[in-house]
Symmetry: C3
Subunit: 401 residues, 3 copies
């Protein structure tokens, strides 16, 4: 990044008023956007998928954001490996499909062939002195946490130790190792990625915008009503790991550690799951023995969000495509032994968060249109935008780190 661009960003960060929405430039400036890619998306752990998506050696899927594409594949000894989807010859994409199975990673252009570990195995008619060992695929860091696959493009990835330690009981309780991906949907949103992330981080908009959600989740209520319901819900649960809270999110993370969060919140009026009428929609997860009428928020790293009902789990991922477009990928997980059509109905499983995410897509687009106006100015945030305020604090630090 050029020196004037760096200074501009420092000035923008310095001028940003705390407790207020971001200034317009953060949502439109091309230099800010490039800095975000460099400081956030290339340096932090991103949720890529689940081991159930690549059960066999050679199975792979890709993850795409901005101009980047990453191949996540299971190698010949069953380990999960990740590499940049860029041939070292003339740069072609190697895997053209978003998922599949391959014995080797062979570029479709000139047939340079790489192992599933990224080593260049063959390249025809190369000149004297060509060193195959210097032309392997660019490696990407991989971490598998109880079945969840995370990647980090930086060699100096933040540590996952603290979150792995604190969240271990939760991962075991909900059986992350014994889940399977039931469905995934992508929502392309013509707006800056932060407007999508901020939307996910507050429930100030739930009551006006999401009647379906607001009928099930107590979180959509006014703060006092919600806090009372939550206090009642948590009563006598102090030693229950399902009810422990971890608040190491965003700026509250330890130095050198990725941030994380876990908290359990009550549902409304006898609801037991995130579905029409709050009814059960799938077999109970992991070691859960019964419905408790709650749902857990889980954040693993600053950019990966999960929602844990007793009978299914959702993964939420926001990735930028450009400074004015992003994608929201939603994944629905159930117990690995649950059978579609028998133990759960896919349309019932996905209904609530499909309708909610479609509504959010419209909201976010309208927000971007207003933010684009010369008359937009940072506005004051409410008490119900507390979590978003931590995100903004972390974000501003990350830009200038």
């Amino acid at each position: 990044m050029s020196s004037p661009s760096r200074l501009k960003i420092q000035d923008l960060v310095a001028a940003q008023r705390s407790g207020y929405s971001l200034a317009q430039a953060f949502y439109k400036d091309q230099d800010v956007y490039q800095q975000e890619i460099n400081q956030i998306f290339l340096k932090h752990w991103l949720y890529a998928g689940h081991v159930s998506q690549i059960p066999q050696s050679g199975d792979y899927f890709t993850l795409e954001f901005d101009t980047e594409s990453v191949i996540v594949a299971r190698n010949s000894v069953g380990e999960v490996k990740a590499h940049m989807n860029v041939c070292r010859h003339r740069g072609s994409r190697i895997c053209l499909e978003s998922s599949g199975s391959k014995k080797s990673l062979t570029c479709p252009y000139h047939a340079w062939s790489y192992s599933l570990d990224g080593e260049l195995l063959s390249a025809r008619t190369m000149p004297e002195g060509f060193d195959r060992s210097q032309h392997g695929l660019h490696k990407v860091q991989v971490a598998v946490l109880h079945g969840l696959i995370f990647i980090c493009l930086s060699e100096h990835a933040p540590s996952l130790d603290a979150l792995a330690r604190d969240l271990a009981e939760v991962f075991v309780l909900f059986g992350f190792d014994t889940m399977k991906l039931a469905e995934t949907k992508s929502y392309r949103i013509p707006a800056n990625w932060k407007l999508a992330v901020e939307n996910y981080q507050e429930c100030y908009h739930c009551a006006p915008s999401h009647p379906e959600f607001a009928q099930i989740h107590a979180m959509a209520k006014a703060p006092q009503v919600f806090q009372t319901a939550k206090a009642n819900f948590h009563q006598d649960q102090q030693n229950n790991p399902k009810f422990k809270a971890f608040n190491r999110y965003f700026d509250l993370a330890e130095a050198g550690q990725e941030g994380y969060q876990y908290d359990r919140n009550p549902l409304l009026r006898g609801s037991v799951s995130g579905s029409a009428g709050g009814k059960a929609v799938a077999p109970l997860l992991g070691n859960i023995s019964d419905y408790d009428g709650g749902a857990s928020e889980l954040m693993v790293g600053p950019l990966s969000y999960f929602l844990l009902y007793d009978d299914h789990m959702l993964g939420y991922r926001f990735l930028p495509l450009s400074e004015d477009e992003c994608v929201c990928d939603v994944s629905w997980f159930v117990h690995e032994k649950a059978l579609a059509g028998k133990d759960y109905q896919l349309d019932q499983l996905t209904w609530l968060w499909d309708v909610t995410t479609q509504a959010d897509k419209k909201i976010i687009m309208n927000n971007q249109q207003g933010v684009d106006s010369r008359y937009y100015q940072s506005g004051p945030l409410s008490a119900m935008e507390h979590f978003q305020q931590h995100f903004l604090r972390w974000y501003l630090q990350a830009l200038t780190r």
Copy 2:
């Protein structure tokens, strides 16, 4: 605007040859475009609509250009008010539809609610010290002239006094107060807005490009033929207000006053209106007692154009969407008591200027394509491009004011 950008624009203006079409940069440069928005579209009066479009309290419509959206609404005591369509919380658009009716202006995102006068009425869970009175919607100036609604985004809008005084007789004669909007059509044109405006301002292209228009309007003829026809048409009409001319257009406007123009021109061969065969298409307007075989050009402010036949009126509005795209909105007005299907047929009313505007859209696109060439150079303007030359003079002054 940065100092180098300002200097660049000054240099471009200084280098522009009088009597010639604009240099390429005026049609393509992003800094020029931003300066145009700032100096022209944010500072002058724009034709927004007609009171007949919002008869009741709470009725509203929006006006959009570039990144801006304005809400024009009738308030609880019947006044027309305008505000920026940008929530003061996190910037969402408030009115998502182009017209409708609302009791209050409530943002669909977090339900911040504003009165029709733009005052913030309610915002939930805001922190201690939050001052509602400081978070009203940004106000936009409004002027209603005999039913026509104009808006100006600047607090230092030019005066409309001179034009209101000079054009009063015309407004009354044609009954602007007793018109209603019969139809409106939008034509998106992938070209710089000035190419569309310049096209509207000269009839040099009418004979080659608009056979339908040229069969009805004497203006499409060679200058001498037209001037003779006009002289005959104006004979013995000196005290008739319909035949008075006002030429305060563009650079001819008084200091501090918006420009304006009015002039009446003859139709051809017994034509009485702008329609197939030049036939009457609707009941006579206002105080008009009979067809006189003419049509009036009317300009209110430098950017709003009207065409007055004895039985209907057209409004023409050109708004930029970006430096290389604009929209031409055409509105057809008839007497408020005229009934569609009975007193006028919509397809007959709109035929001439729909076919003409569609042809102009193609012409303007071809013009932009040629202007984009490295081999384009400013060319000399003809006698029939006189009005356009005044526009260009005013435009160049406005850029550097």
Copy 3:
């Protein structure tokens, strides 16, 4: 071009490693792209078409690239002339169709009328002192080589003398003068034009990517296999003009002369033409008396490629539309006396190179996607990318000349 832009390009060229694919900036930078247009596409001879496309006076076709459009027309005495498709009045495109026939070049906007030689014939109502002779269309250089029409936008076009001399026998042998255009197809490719050109210049990708081509052309084989086949094919053909080679391509061109290349290569297993099964698809061209089982590569100037089978000829042209989009125009030629449906079947004639070009389009798009990655880096070229390496050397020189 501004001085910082020029320095940036010089630095990029200086940093480019020989024998490696180009650095990312060459495929994405807007200044590099503008320099390419100025130094390559505006200064070199481009293949425009064939005289058979404009048999009569007034017949014309247009050639488009980037923001430019050129009219190529046969004038009243039968000569081929070319002019910029930009009116000297206000810049409109004059010819709106890609081909047709006109008595004069009359602008559709204001009817300024030019002769087929580009002289301004008439312009209505121009002011005193207007000089028609100063407002003719911008002239473009034309060269007709045995029926092939080339244009050059520079007045200081490189000489075609050397190539006209060396290739004369080939032009006569294959009867370029007695060909006709049988079909032309355009393939828009969302990639930088160089990725398309480079793809055409090497057969390293033929075996993995083009099974149809690889079954017919020996060139798709490994270098040693191909060289042996070629040596056998050329045996005892030393004085046969069909088998002479001219290697004045790219950086091997004489100073002041356009580059060129001619070479004949063997087909496989009894194939005689570029078609399904390698079968004959049309009457023999020019003075060819029999199939010899070969095909000739021909390059006329650095940007125009031809492929000569004994019974049909292909023209390949790559033109940029913007820095990230180009078009590949493929033309199929047969003997002028060959009758479609009788002497040749159009679908059989075009099959091989339609299927091959469609495959190339996908390859090139995948290549661009990978090149766009931050992790793309220049990779080493193989022995089978020899011709491309000459192109790159010439290209880098052309950028900084």
